[in-house]
């Protein structure tokens, strides 16, 4: 019991960060599955979602501003794809990735300009920001809510992908881009849908993340973004359950490492894990065997 008591706070923190990473990781894994593009700007979309809530909450009630921000984030994701990635569809893969880096740079600098470089604090959301006690460990209610929300959203997403028309189109495109196009799948709308869904989930993740850790700075999206990407690679890129499991593993391990006193390496650990995965199982936990597309 003593051991459990000591480690429970880390476990709880781990589960909640894991859930938040999972919601970001889905955006990465879906985009990568379809476009073979590491969307470096995704972490910054996550940050923008938080800023939108902060600014809109200053003149709107929270129950309007949060949904509004989530919708606006989805639009942002859509716009980013149209502006930065669509013109490069036929260009080499590296160009699109550089465009993603440029987009991330732009979003960060915009946020820097808007916030004036100061940390903004997320408004406390009633109920989910309250403190609660679980087996003697104090935490915010959002810690418990996060995994539930994550799982529900993922079931919804998986059923969309399995049963709806757009979902089937997505799977077709990710399996074979060109053939799907030949079969009459409207590539552009599929890709847009992917970005919209990914950004929606990132926005939900951002609400959960910043209710727990309230400081928003322009670069706050960078690390969670990279970690979520590592989670996606770890789970097998393109696989949604894989990304979710990977995210939870990373979130929990990271917090346990902090608990062990190795705080200097809490970020580096994620990358060690990444390199081990890439070396020994390049397709991750649930990835399909890669087809080398020459």
């Amino acid at each position: 019991m003593g051991f459990f008591q000591t480690n429970l706070p880390y476990l709880l923190a781990g589960i909640s960060t894991g859930g938040q990473y999972a919601l970001i990781a889905i955006g990465y894994t879906m985009v990568y599955g379809i476009l073979r593009l590491i969307n470096f700007a995704h972490g910054d979309v996550f940050m923008c979602a938080a800023l939108m809530v902060i600014y809109s909450a200053s003149f709107l009630p929270l129950y309007i501003s949060v949904p509004l921000a989530i919708i606006a984030t989805a639009l942002l994701g859509f716009a980013i794809e149209r502006v930065a990635y669509k013109p490069l569809r036929t260009a080499p893969r590296m160009s699109a990735m550089i465009s993603a880096i440029g987009m991330s740079y732009l979003l960060q600098n915009l946020a820097l300009y808007v916030t004036g470089g100061l940390t903004k604090y997320y408004p406390p959301i009633p109920y989910i920001s309250d403190s609660i006690e679980i087996f003697g460990a104090m935490t915010k209610r959002v810690t418990v809510i996060t995994p539930i929300v994550t799982v529900v959203l993922i079931f919804a997403l998986v059923s969309i992908i399995k049963y709806t028309k757009i979902g089937i189109a997505m799977r077709a495109v990710s399996r074979d881009f060109e053939t799907a196009q030949l079969m009459g799948v409207r590539i552009n709308s599929v890709i847009s849908a992917t970005f919209v869904i990914g950004s929606l989930l990132a926005a939900v993740g951002s609400t959960l993340f910043f209710s727990n850790y309230t400081g928003v700075t322009p670069t706050v999206g960078g690390m969670p973004g990279l970690k979520a990407f590592v989670a996606a690679v770890f789970g097998g890129i393109g696989s949604i359950p894989g990304a979710v499991i990977g995210a939870f593993i990373i979130g929990i391990c990271e917090n346990l490492i902090k608990g062990l006193g190795w705080t200097t390496f809490s970020d580096a650990f994620t990358f060690v894990l990444l390199i081990i995965v890439l070396m020994f199982m390049p397709t991750g936990l649930f990835g399909e065997k890669t087809i080398d597309r020459v």
Binding site: R93, L110, G116, G117, T219
Partner: protein, 355 residues
Amino acid sequence: MDSNKKRDLAASVILIALLFLIITVLEQLLPKTSMIFTVLKKGSIYALVAVSMNLLNGFTGLFSLGQAGFMLLGAYTYGILTIPVSARAAVYQYYNGGIVQFALPVFAAILLAGVVAAFFAYLIGLPVLHLKSDYLAIATLGFAEIIRAIFQWDKIGALTNGSNLLRKFPIFHSTLFPFAVSAVCIGIIVLLINSTYGRAFKAIRDDEVAAEAMGINLAHHKRLAFTISSFFAGISGALLAMFQTTVQASQFKSAMTYEILLIVVIGGVGSITGSCISSFLFVACSEWWLRFLDNSDTFIGSIHLSMLRPGFRKVVFSVVIMAIVLLYQKGIMGDKEFSISKIREKLKKKKAEDE
């Protein structure tokens, strides 16, 4: 053609000599605190690291994002080895003066900075170089982050000074110094690219399978390119340390690698002269020319521009970068090099057309 090449070589030697002459004159004329020297110094350092990245990304087709990590290794090697023994107690104040109790001459330390970076690159290259494009990018990025964490670890602080600044090492005062070092290093890279190795690198970039079929040892050549590129990144790291007068691991973030990558892209992937030109432009824009955008007291006529305030410079700058990335995917130079004879040919053609 051959005479053209010779003429080009002579022309570039003259151009470079002219450049050095201009800088010498400038240093005599302008106060040495002028911003232009800051830009020139930093620009020449970034030019070297951009060219070294171009060697990987542009000429060998290896998409690596580990440049900041190798610069860190170079900067730290230089700093650790050259801090005068008398200053060590002050710099390593929390670690009883550190464990390194000697100081090397500047040039030996710069060279060693490259060697250490190259050595680590060799080790890192063993597991990751067989990875494909973006996986390689993310793995090298990860390694850079790991190196950064290790250098900040307080348990080895007696060597690295933990997360504290390294300083008091010898620095350069003249702009000519980084120019000369960078010019020599870039010259070596150009020679390498024009050698059989360089041709093998380009073959790998264009088609790995075909290159292997032609008898090019893929693993060997990739490792070679990776190690050499890191060697020069290490040297530029040492120069950066000298330029900044202090060095700290926390500055070598992935954002730094992205900046260098953007320089390479703006200059043109696969163009050495492009990388050089764009690094000066990039540094000048971000540090100097666009500064007025941050100044909220700028007026156009009598209109007060309320949108100008700190941070606006960076927004404008990143919009310009996005415009270049989207609209001029080939960058300033494409994959061509700046050469006198080509310009002459063009001029001749134009003349012929005009007539």
